[in-house]
Amino acid sequence: MAASLWSSQKEGARALVRDMLASGQEMSVEDVVNALKMTGVTAKNALKAIYAAQQSENITLNGDYDTGSLRRGGV
């Protein structure tokens, strides 16, 4: 069974979220989603990539996914 398009994009999208946020830097969720959309990832899957980065890249969400921001290296 062929893997999905998202499966092939997932790792790259997560790495992109990591690379967008230098240590201590903060970006709005909206800006990160828009940057991922430029690479061909859907908005829904962009949020999945952000979530994956939160789990593995020491990236924290301040607020919610609508209006919040992301920061690498803690709140």
Binding site: S7, D64, D66
Partner: protein, 165 residues
């Protein structure tokens, strides 16, 4: 403000596990019996119970379900008497993967942040954190692109006890 969680953290070492043994008899009736085991009970030990039960039953043991249970004492004091108070009032979220498998997730007794009291429809953005946690857990192997498709609020249709007048 939501209710208070008292279930322990799911960390791989559950306080206890539950094994459910399901039988079908010759008349097609199905019955499950359950036993609670300590966390250290091995899979082989639970399997031996199934073997021993089958040896003394005319019915057919066709399913054994072993669950890790992270449980605590239920206490209504940890729940809120807010607008959607009943666990049978829920927001149902439909998920589908790229192979068109589907699953429903139920959010019981939703807060008004998710299901406003002046509306029949839930606020989709209030589900984002739940959706991301669910899809991250489900995307394994070939079923690797789950999406939340829709969400709807359904209420309990309850008939209470009648009073004679």
């Amino acid at each position: 403000m939501p209710g208070t969680r008292t279930a322990p953290t799911v960390d791989g070492t559950p306080p206890y596990q539950n094994a459910s043994f399901t039988f079908i008899d010759h008349t097609e009736d199905v019955r499950s019996i359950s036993l609670q085991f300590p966390p250290g009970t091995t899979a082989a030990q639970i399997d031996s119970v199934g073997t021993a039960l089958q040896a003394r039953s005319n019915a057919s043991l066709f399913k054994i379900e072993v669950k890790q249970i992270y449980g605590s004492t239920p206490d209504v004091g940890n729940a809120l008497a807010e607008v959607h108070i009943s666990v049978y009032d829920n927001v149902v979220v439909l998920f589908k993967d790229q192979l068109n498998h589907s699953q429903d997730l139920f959010v019981p007794a939703p807060t008004t942040a998710l299901q406003p009291d002046d509306s029949d429809t839930p606020i989709g953005s209030a589900l984002t954190a739940i959706i991301l946690a669910v899809t991250a857990g489900m995307e394994q192997g070939t079923t690797d692109d789950w999406q939340a498709v829709s969400a709807r609020f359904t209420e309990r249709r309850e008939k209470n006890q009648r009073t004679y007048i």
